[in-house]
């Protein structure tokens, strides 16, 4: 299957043609937002912290910001920083994509008004340049899809997650890449998922991430395994932790696991990958965007509206009440699995067609309504 995308100098293919305006740290966000407000065709990539972050925590923050800059959905980037060093850290890490990059360094300007003016002019030029690019036909193998869930209920495990799983299998079969994340969701079925590993080193890398996460939680006094399924889950019909975990991981389909990634890390192979991330959706989707996912399929039962800025986020629901109540926020309705007895294969194939439509330019609700957010996970406290 093919889609219409934008070719980037490094050979990656974007499904959008935005200019990213990237804040190097939290104190720059007002300028980033002002520039994006003034220039059509830009998206803001803001962040909290960076000031006060050190060591591994700072490296992950820099890599995640730069990773979003490298995402092929961005035709170019304007990096706005407070001072030279950190601004250079981000700009230099994007440079190898060959995309046009501009910088604004606040301390070298006459203040926020001057910095906003300089940023507006630079962003406007970048947008003008990007607008001369045209979509061309590319095979689905150029796509990387993140799979996510939030606001889950019984229908998630029965309809929306398995439908996303079918679409994920179709993309892998077409030579593309899929990433599933949220480490804690695998607890209880980690051995079952590990059986899908393509080789022993992948299997061990996956189990290390999940069991390491459990150990870290235990050290904080949290027993994730022993507390699942929670009484509400049991009341809803879930009997075991394996069943709960399998419902969540059914959105990863059935193909072999070929790679294990850390937060925001880019896959180097095609096929199904696992990324170790915290469970909250905004943090997890930020890591997808940084890893190069061009889009995300997001399963929701009771309803969750948030999307990612860099990676358009397709909301999929199989709950008729949710689709009826908030139709504007659900991009793809898979209720027919429950309502009309249609098969997961059939409905998942339609979802795959929609994934390719969105890749070719069809807009999703969170883009149109600008209900998007960025959050880079913290791994150590501020100093």
């Amino acid at each position: 299957m093919n889609f219409l995308g934008y070719e980037r100098p490094d050979g990656q293919v974007g499904i959008r043609n935005w200019i990213g305006v990237i804040s190097v740290m939290d104190n720059i966000n007002p300028i980033t937002r002002a520039v994006c407000g003034a220039v059509d065709g830009t998206i803001p990539v803001t962040t909290l912290f960076v000031r006060g972050q050190f060591g591994r925590d700072l490296e992950i923050a820099f890599d995640t910001l730069a990773g979003m800059g490298r995402n092929p959905n961005l035709a170019g980037a304007l990096v706005i920083g407070l001072e030279e060093y950190s601004t250079g850290q981000i700009a230099d890490r994007i440079a190898n994509t060959g995309k046009p990059i501009e910088t604004v360094i606040l301390q070298r300007t006459a203040g926020s008004i001057a910095a906003t003016a300089e940023g507006t002019e630079k962003a406007a030029r970048l947008v003008a340049g990007a607008s001369s690019l045209r979509r061309k036909e590319f095979p689905a193998s150029a796509l990387t899809l993140g799979v996510e869930c939030g606001g889950s209920d019984t229908t998630s495990g029965l309809a929306s997650n398995p439908a996303i799983g079918r679409a994920a299998d179709r993309l892998v079969d077409d030579g593309g890449t899929v990433i599933i994340s949220e480490t804690s969701e695998f607890l209880g079925a980690e051995d079952l998922f590990a059986e899908r590993a393509a080789d022993d080193s992948v299997r061990r890398a996956f189990l290390d991430r999940v069991l390491g996460h459990e150990k870290a939680s235990m050290e904080r006094g949290l027993d994730i395994r022993g507390a699942n399924p929670v009484p509400d889950n049991i009341k809803g019909g879930l009997s075991t932790i394996e069943e709960k975990a399998l419902g969540a991981m059914s959105k990863a389909g059935t193909r072999p696991l070929v790679g294990v990634l850390d937060y925001g890390e880019s896959p180097v192979r095609k096929g199904m990958h696992f990324m170790a991330t915290p469970a909250p959706a905004v943090e997890s989707m930020t890591a997808f965007a940084a890893s190069g996912c061009q889009l995300i399929a997001f399963s929701t039962g009771v309803g969750n509206i948030i999307g990612n800025y860099v990676s358009p986020t397709i909301k999929v629901s199989g709950n008729p009440k949710t689709v009826g109540k908030m139709p504007v926020n659900i991009d793809h309705d898979v209720c027919s699995i429950i309502e009309d007895g249609r098969t997961i294969t059939e409905v998942g194939d339609e979802l795959y067609d929609y994934v390719l439509d969105v890749s070719s330019g069809t807009k999703v609700a969170s883009e149109i309504l600008d209900q998007r957010e960025t959050a880079i996970s913290r791994f150590e406290p501020s100093i």
């Binding site: 398995p162 399924p229 049991i234």
Partner: protein, 95 residues
């Protein structure tokens, strides 16, 4: 009408998508067809056996083992925490 979804053709349990009453002919959909007679009242979202499961037998959903039967579960009977034991730990029992 009482319906249940079979998620994988190798599954031996299906999930109810309507509240079911004892004696209902529960229609299978998804990756399964046919029907099973419900052995008792069973709520939406809960599981039924679609084939007889022996004591100690594997309970299969999503094509994978979600636990072991702690007693024989005849087709049409409620399959839940009272007759399925996790192999990994469970909220209302020590892990």
């Amino acid at each position: 009408m009482t319906r249940a979804i079979l998620l994988n053709e190798s599954d031996n349990v299906a999930t109810l998508i309507d509240d079911g009453s004892s004696g209902d002919d529960c229609l299978l959909q998804g990756e399964g067809t046919g029907s099973v007679k419900l052995g008792r009242d069973i709520p939406f979202g809960h599981k039924i056996a679609v084939a007889d499961i022996d004591i100690g037998g594997e309970v299969i959903k999503y094509g994978q083992v979600i636990g072991l039967a702690t007693e024989a579960i005849p087709a049409g009977q409620h399959a839940h925490v009272h007759n399925i034991e996790s192999r990994r730990g469970r909220g209302d029992k020590p892990a």
